[in-house]
């Protein structure tokens, strides 16, 4: 497989996620779209790791290993982010009884 197909797939997923984030007002769906975008980037990172498999880094291991561990850490961070994010959404729902992100316009004042 040429790498370009993976690139295009990632871009497509990313843009779909972005369109979702822009068009939906349900904050949970917006949040899910962000997860989708995050995953598309992960996919791209794995594809690139495959491309640079032959390159060896300073520790004597393959670059691919580093890239995959990088993805692993991204997942860790994403998991932590989701925890806090969902807690915020729950909090917001409890205060406003809505999950419309347009209620989050306190910044205006």
């Amino acid at each position: 497989m040429e790498i370009k197909w993976y690139l295009f797939l990632s871009i497509a997923l990313f843009c779909i996620g972005m369109i979702g984030a822009l068009t939906r007002r349900n904050s949970i769906i917006v949040f899910m779209c962000i997860e989708l975008m995050l995953n598309s980037v992960n996919l791209l990172l794995i594809a690139f790791s495959k491309m640079h498999m032959a390159t060896v880094n300073a520790f004597g291991t393959s670059m691919a290993t580093s890239a995959q561990i990088f993805v692993f850490f991204i997942m860790i961070v994403a998991a932590a982010e989701v925890t806090v994010g969902l807690a915020i959404i729950v909090m917001m729902y409890r205060n406003t009884h809505s999950i419309d992100i347009n209620f989050l316009n306190r910044l205006k004042n």
């Binding site: 972005m18 984030a21 822009l22 007002r25 992100i101 347009n102 989050l104 316009n105 306190r106 910044l107 205006k108 004042n109």
Partner: protein
């Protein structure tokens, strides 16, 4: 050489005094303020004496002391530097010495000021001395200009010291504006120097072995004439020459010791110093020298004529200063630089003495300055009377008092250059003798013409006032002995020898015309006889003066009104300028510039009100805008290569 290492202390000490007195004017006691104010000047004076001793040693060469880079742009490098040579050290002595006496005098004279006013006064006075020291110590024209501006500022502050009266403010403003006109000339001169020679450091310009100016041999080249004329405009402003002299008589609005400081030790001598400092440049431009000589002579005679009819004791002295400065410029103009500097020195002594004496009189009279209302004070104020008398003799030029030697040196140089200048100068000297003895007679002789209250109030001033008077009287009496003409004593002109290294190169350029000794002696005798006759006549005429109702002649009236110079200036310069500025104010400023400024304000206001709609606070629209921005960045980055 040791003393010269500490030269930075000379200006630094007055600056420190200024800071202490300025900041602590509300907390320090009056006596402490006076002590600090005078003490720092005294210390400066001591260092100046040490420097003078070091400079007058055999084999001294001009020292250039660089402290740090001040302006360093491209090829132009102007360091903060001091230069010490004979001229500098002499001026240091005059400034700090006379300055110190004036400070001591002020501690008593200003006693009645409020506490903070007292501190303010002394801090200004210290700043004044600091600026003047900076001016004479500076090793290039920029440092000189800084001092020059500082002196202008301080004169403004001190002339307007009693700022509650609008008249004083006007006088201060007038002095400032007149000085500013001169400063523009000076500044342009400096710029021109930079553009033609690339440096304004005295060391680079006037160095005796390889200075840029020193190695020029062409005389009267246009650039140099222009530069010297511009610098002379600056000197005119500061040293009150025609046409910029009108500020000096008005500067009397300030406290009397300030007048003494301005007229004797600082400020007005700055112009003389500057030209003496640039003597090599001026010697290369004989045209400018002619202009200076003519203006100096004119100023001397015009101011002396005006002084005859003035009735304000300080105004008389002010016009006399203008007139004496005219003599100094005459001396510079005919190439007798050291004679001019000599006259600066003697003038500093007797003019400081005259002003301080006048201050003592005014103090005794409870603020009265009109001499027609005085008279007979000689019996009540012996010390003031005698010292004032000595000063009168000195300024009139009666031997062997100091004024005679310096004035004679200038006049004989003028005779060598052009006898016409001599005759006018002599006429001015006669007028000087006349108005001085008129002043003396009206003030101290005859009967008292004031009110009864004033008569009881009249008393001799206390020691802090009289001691400076006595010291200055001694200096005014014997100060001239450092420059005895060659015709009397061989090598008698010590001052001339002392200053000769500074003016050596100029002496080479200007072939000095020697007056035959016989002629010189004849001139001297004639002038002395004339002066004494005039003095005695004036004394006789005004000794028994009673305020009469005699009709003034047209000419007398003109003189009394100072030849209407102020009025003429007012008509041809101030009024049209006012009209123009009113026009500019009403039409261009209010309508045009204010319109633009307010329009900008209104435009921004409107724009921001519209832009505020963008800040909806809704996350969705923010993200959308972010995406659009990102998109634009991508497009710019990827497709514009």
């Amino acid at each position: 050489m040791d003393a010269i290492q500490f030269i930075y202390l000379v200006p630094l000490l007055p600056l420190v005094g200024f800071l202490i007195n300025g900041l602590g004017r509300k907390t320090l006691s009056k006596s402490l303020i006076g002590l600090i104010g005078s003490g720092v000047i005294f210390l400066s004076f001591c260092i100046s004496v040490l420097i003078f001793i070091a400079v007058s040693k055999e084999g001294f060469t001009t020292q250039d002391i660089q402290y740090f880079d001040f302006i360093n742009v491209g090829k132009l490098n102007i360091p903060f530097e001091f230069q010490v040579d004979q001229l500098t050290s002499l001026f240091l002595l005059i400034i700090t010495g006379v300055g110190f006496l004036i400070h001591v005098y002020s501690t008593s004279y200003m006693k009645e000021e409020t506490q903070s006013g007292y501190g303010r006064y002394f801090s200004y006075l210290n700043l004044f001395v600091f600026s003047m020291l900076l001016l004479v110590l500076g090793g290039n024209y920029l440092i000189m200009f800084m001092g020059w501006e500082g002196v202008g500022l301080c004169s403004y502050l001190l002339i307007g010291f009693w700022f509650k009266e609008q008249e004083n403010n006007n006088a201060a403003k007038k002095a400032f504006v007149m000085n500013r006109i001169g400063d523009v000339g000076f500044l342009l001169g400096i710029f021109w120097l930079i553009s033609s020679f690339g440096t304004i450091s005295y060391h680079d310009l006037y160095n005796s072995s390889n200075g840029i100016i020193t190695s020029i041999s062409a005389i009267n080249s246009p650039a140099i004439v222009a530069i010297t004329l511009l610098l002379f405009v600056g000197a005119c402003g500061k040293s009150a020459q025609i046409p910029l002299y009108t500020w000096l008589p008005d500067a009397m609005a300030g406290p009397t010791p300030v007048s003494a400081l301005i007229h004797a030790a600082t400020m007005v001598t700055a112009g003389i110093y500057m030209i003496a400092r640039s003597n090599i440049l001026y010697s290369l431009a004989p045209t400018t020298l002619d202009v200076i000589a003519v203006i100096g002579t004119l100023t001397a005679i015009v101011a002396a004529t005006i002084a005859i009819k003035q009735n304000d004791i300080k105004k008389v002295l002010a016009y006399s200063t203008v007139s004496q400065l005219g003599y100094m410029f005459l001396g510079l103009g005919v190439g007798a630089y050291s004679a001019a500097v000599f006259h600066v020195m003697t003038h500093a002594f007797f003019k400081a003495l005259l002003f301080l004496g006048a201050g003592s009189v005014i103090h005794a009279m409870g603020g009265e300055q009109d001499i027609t209302k005085m008279g007979g004070l000689g019996k009540k104020m012996r010390v003031t009377y005698i010292t004032f008398f000595i000063a009168c003799i000195a300024i009139s030029g009666i031997p062997p008092f100091s004024g005679f030697f310096s004035k004679d040196e200038i006049l004989s140089a003028a005779y060598a250059s052009n006898p016409l200048l001599y005759y006018i100068g002599l006429g001015g000297a006669l007028l000087t003798a006349f108005y001085m003895f008129r002043l003396l007679a009206l003030t101290f002789a005859g009967k008292f013409r004031g009110t009864e209250d004033q008569l009881h109030h009249v008393h001799e001033s206390n020691a802090t006032i009289t001691i400076p008077l006595v010291i200055l009287a001694v200096l005014a009496a014997v100060g001239g002995l450092v420059g005895i003409p060659e015709v009397f004593v061989k090598n008698g002109n010590k001052l001339n020898d002392f200053l000769s290294p500074v003016f050596a190169h100029s002496a080479q350029i200007i072939a000095s015309q020697e007056v035959p000794h016989q002629t010189e002696i004849i001139l001297m005798i004639v002038s002395v006889i004339l002066i004494i006759t005039t003095s005695v006549w004036a004394w006789k005429k005004y000794k028994e003066y009673q305020p009469g109702t005699g009709e003034e002649s047209v000419f007398g009236k003109a003189i009394k009104n100072k030849f209407y110079v102020d009025e003429v200036y007012d008509r041809i310069i101030v009024k049209p300028l006012n009209a123009l500025s009113r026009l500019l104010d009403n039409v261009i400023d209010k309508k045009g510039i204010d319109g633009i400024v307010n329009g900008v304000g209104r435009g921004v206001n409107y724009g921001s009100r519209q832009l505020r709609l963008l800040q909806s606070g809704q996350v969705g629209s923010y993200i959308l805008l972010m995406v659009i921005g990102m998109l634009l960045l991508f497009i710019i980055q990827l497709f514009t290569k």
